[in-house]
Symmetry: none
Subunit: 245 residues, 4 copies
DNA sequence: GATGAATGAGCCTTCATTCAT
DNA sequence: AATGAATGAAGGCTCATTCAT
């Protein structure tokens, strides 16, 4: 009141109100994006949900895209923190850690359905804009490196290439689960309850498969047969390609 | 009767022109849909790409949706034919068949990227329109049943639930691969060359994993340890949930 | 065949075919215009109904408007002929003639519903085009003069102005009946059966009213009272005008 | 409580601007609809006439149809109020009342020319939409019932059918006048000045005619001659019908 | 800080009409 | 004579965004 600012410490009424507005917009946008997807939701709808004018949104967010982006950062940070926390949990073995962060990751993706598309799609990494999603990109990279690292710690692969491929397969499973259930209309919690066991099982199977695959590889007798099959098929691929068009 | 003419043989210039136009529209639409998605692409853009007026498109396709559908049907039919052909190929064992149709499927998805979203997404199965994509739906169902059946023939699962779950895991991998490379900017052929081995490997690993998982299940000693870990984690899940919102 | 033309007399096959096409277009257009109105009907619909290409229409009619116009001429001519025939029918007294041509007129209007709008609307007399509907206008004028004349022969009005006004009233009734039933969905014949007695009655009433009105006018005592009422009302008119806006 | 403010009194500049815009849109639409009809006028034209963007129109009116409807309601209400006021005017005898509301009605129709088509045409009563013009329909019904009732009070008809027919004839005259002058390019006021006497005269004549018609009916001697004439004519009707097609 | 007013770009679609065969 | 191919103009409408208060 009497010209005596607490520099950052105490926020003025206006500042508080401002933050509240921004928060309510973000919340509304998050809710609607999640429910109905980015494209389908209009700025006016967000405003209505946030109980403010649609023009107010532009006070806090440059445009619709920026809104989405900003919306993504906090959850991503939370997720990253969760990852770190798991990695530091000494009571868990590497497999346990992998399962745990995989669960966190799945939960995150299905909790922020619409954002996933934007966050993890190639689109947001388009090169035609200079660092379009700087912080988002950083976070994403960080998250993926946790996952990658976590997989790599488990698999005793000999060559780097083998390791990379195996990591990829792990990602296929994760990506596949997310894609599969991204558009599900089932409410989040029951859905997760249902599919987290599936996730665990999948990870177990994949890890088990990788392990035995590596053992096989050390017994060249089996490996050869496989190689032949592949060659047969690649011929057929060529033909197939011409037909489809 | 007399001199029976093959009237169908020679097409008039006009017919040729017409076909060429239709083809070029379909091509343009396919390209743009693939590159940028159904919703984003406008009829005028398609027309420009096809070097015709946007009204011309309506000469050949009822509306935008019909355009997409017509674009999707022939490739889907080709793919189905390929599936059938593989299934009838006696020289292949069940695993060989699964790998083969998986390759076909992957190739198809990446050759018709954008359509994949529309064809395989839940959205296109909306029930609020009368038979909106009748034929497309049928084809899709058929394709999936081939894949499912093909997986089921390999896995010696005891219970039906186990079988279903394992099929799901297979689909996660497939879905994951498709999702992962759907937006890749790499040209199709090199891309496929690169990832088909990965697909084969993934299938092998998953099948191998499933096999050993089943064996494990019959040795309850190992199963117990795992059970404990799971319980620890599910506690953490609850907390996590509250933070994210 | 042998280079021996009958000048106009015998029509070549082509000419016959051509006439048939034109006729079938006109018929189709007439039918559709009548059923659904000028604006709603498209050239392609007319073509489909006429079993020809929509471009063919342009061979015979400059454009859609011309089509409508040409469509109007023959029925108008028929109607005019009917008028003439009635006027020459010696067995009918003036009132009988008026009733008769009024019936013909009503029947015509309701048989060619959609055209009526174009034929009798002020629009088609727009001054911004040079003689836009030459022949149609002529016919129309002729028809109206028959009606006018027919009314005038009955009424023993003293002044020309009185006569004109009385003619107008007759036209209001006619116009009113046509307007009222123009959009009726009742089939033509039952409709006419139903309303022609009404037409007769209306004419009788109007003629009767005119007759007695004239008689009244020759007894100034009553006329005065009327004049007063009118003045009262015209004051109110002024106020009313300002409110509505 | 304290100093109770008449908040409604002073409108902010913005509110004023908004109202002005809405008004100018309504005015423009009214003018254009009147001049050229509902279908022919485009939203963009209205916008241009109202000096605003066509999108602005959608700020104030849901769509084109709503625009028309909103345009129609206030004048109809005014007209209804005028009817009520006349009916309560004790100084007027039934005939005076009929004349008065007829004048109001005519004035209304010619003041809102284009809307008349939409408001009073059968088309706008289509049942295939749920209460499309609810209030408009109600008002219209109310207006007509005032007119009907007003006519019925004057005519001493014996049977209900006679009464109905006579009411119809009255409506033909009204409808005919409106139709006749609906498209007149003459400015409203001079036009009304010119034709309101005509309206009065018409009503007088029709009422007079009806009165004497009824008297005639009670003297069967005259009635017979008329009956004969009618029969002659109905024969000719049949022939006429076949020619016109 | 917040908002209502206003807009331009753009979307899908239809139609009368012309062009080339 | 007749037609299929093709098109420009236009229509109603929505949306993200800016302007001025």
């Amino acid at each position: 009141m009497e010209g005596f600012k607490m520099e950052q410490k105490k926020k003025s009424k206006q500042e508080l109100r401002s933050e509240e507005t921004k928060r309510s917009i973000a919340e509304a946008a998050g809710k609607l994006f999640t429910e109905r997807g980015y494209d389908t939701v209009t700025m006016r709808e967000i405003a209505k949900e946030a109980n403010c004018s649609h023009t107010t949104i532009y006070l806090y967010f440059k445009d619709k895209e920026a809104l989405l982006e900003q919306l993504a950062i906090p959850p991503l940070q939370t997720l990253e923190a969760a990852f770190v926390s798991v990695m530091n949990q000494e009571s868990l073995d590497p497999t346990g850690k992998l399962k745990e962060i995989s669960r966190d990751f799945l939960r995150f993706c299905l909790s922020h359905r619409s954002m996933v598309t934007v966050i993890f799609n190639v689109k947001s990494v388009r090169v035609d804009e200079v660092n379009p999603t700087g912080e988002v990109n950083q976070l994403r990279t960080s998250l993926f490196s946790y996952l990658t690292e976590s997989v790599n710690r488990i698999i005793p692969a000999d060559t780097s290439e083998e390791r990379i491929n195996q990591t990829r397969i792990y990602f296929f499973v994760m990506n596949g689960m997310v894609s599969t259930y991204l558009n599900s209309e089932e409410p989040l919690e029951p859905l997760l309850e249902r599919i987290i066991p599936l996730l665990d099982q999948s990870i177990e199977i994949v890890l088990l498969g990788m392990k035995h695959k590596l053992e096989q590889a050390q017994e060249p007798v089996n490996g050869q047969a496989k190689g032949q099959k592949d060659k047969e098929k690649s011929k057929k691929d060529k033909k197939q390609k011409d037909k489809q068009k």
